[in-house]
């Protein structure tokens, strides 16, 4: 981004600024841009209060939080909370579930929009293309509460799919009631919700591909599939790389709304993930220290994953996210 503005005029301005800086102190800039600084007060206050203020609350992960003593006066506990969570089998279970469900999303949910975008890009009937895009984006605009309701109605033992199967003489499938089947349902519903919407970025990247490349490939005798393989896919490679880093970086992060609205008591062994666990233990049962410690553990692992995957991508010669 910076490279785009890096014209010579800007450089000149910077050097003028720099020479001014020596003669004029900080006060000069504050005075000059006072209106801008005032405009920044609310956004900065918001970030400090609600983002960094929340980070301050992490300290209760290291304390025996006691609601009567409050955050500051509760005693430090020498990592006892962490020792406790690392000794709980349930903790490893929710970490495993988070990794498994996110891993499956990566395997199934990540390629789905790429394939769909390539197909849409190849459509020659313009009107069909537009209408199908409109419909494919739609699931993205529904809340997980609604989707959870739809899934329950559609896939429950007496839902439409199972009614159809049993009416035709088959056995009902345990989409939501058996653990492994539920994991599959979770993954496919996620792909259903996001695949269409995910095509937008790839389609945008595809419009940026130089048309001459396609023509050149055609002259060389390439068919449609070869053109996809040798022109389209390399053309969207930077986009794929960035989205892949982001998703790899978030392998331990998991939203709350989706698992919470899709899980049920029968599949909690596989369906309980970090976010829902923290909600249940940390907020519903008021074990604040444990909830905060699990959340901190998750945040740190996430940060490590994100930094690592960004580093590797850069080493591989792609553009990272920073």
């Amino acid at each position: 981004m910076k490279g785009m503005d890096g014209s010579t005029t800007v450089n000149k301005k910077n050097s003028i600024d720099r020479s001014l800086k020596k003669s004029k102190g900080l006060l000069f800039y504050i005075k000059r841009d006072i209106i801008l600084y005032l405009m920044l007060v609310i956004p900065v206050a918001y970030i400090l209060l609600f983002k960094y203020g929340s980070m301050y609350g992490i300290e209760i992960a290291f304390k025996d939080y006691n609601i009567f003593q409050g955050m500051n006066r509760s005693p430090w506990n020498n990592f006892a909370t962490f020792k406790q969570i690392f000794a709980t089998p349930q903790f490893y279970q929710v970490v495993r579930n988070t990794l498994v469900l996110n891993g499956l999303d990566l395997i199934v949910g990540f390629p789905a929009p790429i394939i769909l975008a390539i197909l849409i890009n190849e459509l020659v009937f313009k009107k069909f293309k537009r209408i199908s895009q409109t419909i494919l984006y739609l699931p993205h605009f529904l809340s997980w509460v609604i989707i959870g309701g739809i899934v329950a109605q559609l896939l429950s033992p007496t839902g439409m799919i199972n009614s159809l199967i049993t009416n035709m003489g088959g056995h009902a499938l345990p989409f939501l009631t058996k653990k492994f089947a539920w994991v599959g349902t979770y993954t496919l519903v996620g792909a259903w919700q996001s695949a269409g919407w995910g095509t937008i970025l790839y389609l945008a990247a595809m419009t940026g591909i130089n048309k001459e490349l396609y023509e050149a490939a055609e002259v060389d005798g390439a068919g449609r599939l070869r053109k996809i393989w040798h022109v389209t896919l390399p053309g969207i490679r930077p986009t794929i790389a960035i989205l892949l880093i982001l998703q790899l970086g978030n392998i331990m992060a998991i939203g709350f709304d989706r698992p919470f609205n899709l899980q049920n008591n029968l599949v909690m062994d596989f369906g309980d993930v970090i976010s829902t666990f923290v909600y249940r233990i940390g907020i519903q049962s008021a074990n604040f220290s444990i909830g905060a410690a699990v959340g901190l553990f998750q945040s740190i692992i996430c940060l490590v994953f994100l930094l690592t995957s960004n580093y590797i991508t850069k080493k591989l010669g792609e553009q990272g996210i920073w």
Binding site: M71, L119, T158, L201, T239
Partner: protein, 286 residues
Amino acid sequence: MSQKLKNRIFDYSAVFIVLIAVFICLIPFLYILSESLSSNRAIISHLVTIFPIGFNIEAYKVVFTDAGMLYSMFYTVILVLVYVLLALTVTVLAAYTLSRKRLKGRNIILLLMVFTMYFSGGLVPDYMLVKNLHLLNTPFALILPSMMSVFNMIILKSFFQNLPESLEEAAYLDGCSDLQILLKIILPLSKPALATIALLYAVFRWNYFQDALFYITNEKLYTIQLKLYNVINISQQMSGENVVINLPSEALKAASIIFGTIPILIVYPWLQKYFVSGITIGSIKG
């Protein structure tokens, strides 16, 4: 096989596969819709598929006469409007100031903000903060903690940065202050970007469920999503007196789901193109 025929086959198979995807997207809705409109007998004997059997709008009568449902819907619409107005204002303030290259310290502030995209306190510290600020069970708990998305701010910031600088310089020479430049020049030029960001915020607030579940226990302050969650999962009785006992709960759930989807379906066709262009702006230049 000639190249032309091959192309033809390719075109039609692409259409075929996309068509299947389209149907997979539509069928769940059609099923819920037909279930909400079908007769009790058809629902109980599980005959309903994608066409209603034995037309019946009892379920809708119950949902639409349920004061609690209508109240939640109305309350959520107001909440969304207030939230969007506030979030947009804060986002514009940050995006505009941080897009001014001469502003000293802007990189530090930007870094401070971007860091929060990758590291956060977590659910419990968030909850404690909202609790300590005495925001639990107030509508502010659903507005203030998510008053600005750093991601949206960066999209808007890169949009501002790509506006021609000469316009501002001219205004500057005419004696406009930064605030006047923002209000009179930048904002009018940025309508498409502002519309996109506003829509992103609106859909986020409309669909977001987690914070309402965490922070709100007073039924008067339930958002429509929280209300729907209770109807769908806890089979909570509707608050109206005219609950029809002989109505299958499936029909009621289905009608509630459709009820909760109506606002999105109404605005969706108009909004879609803005979303698409907005996401594209942000991704390519951000």
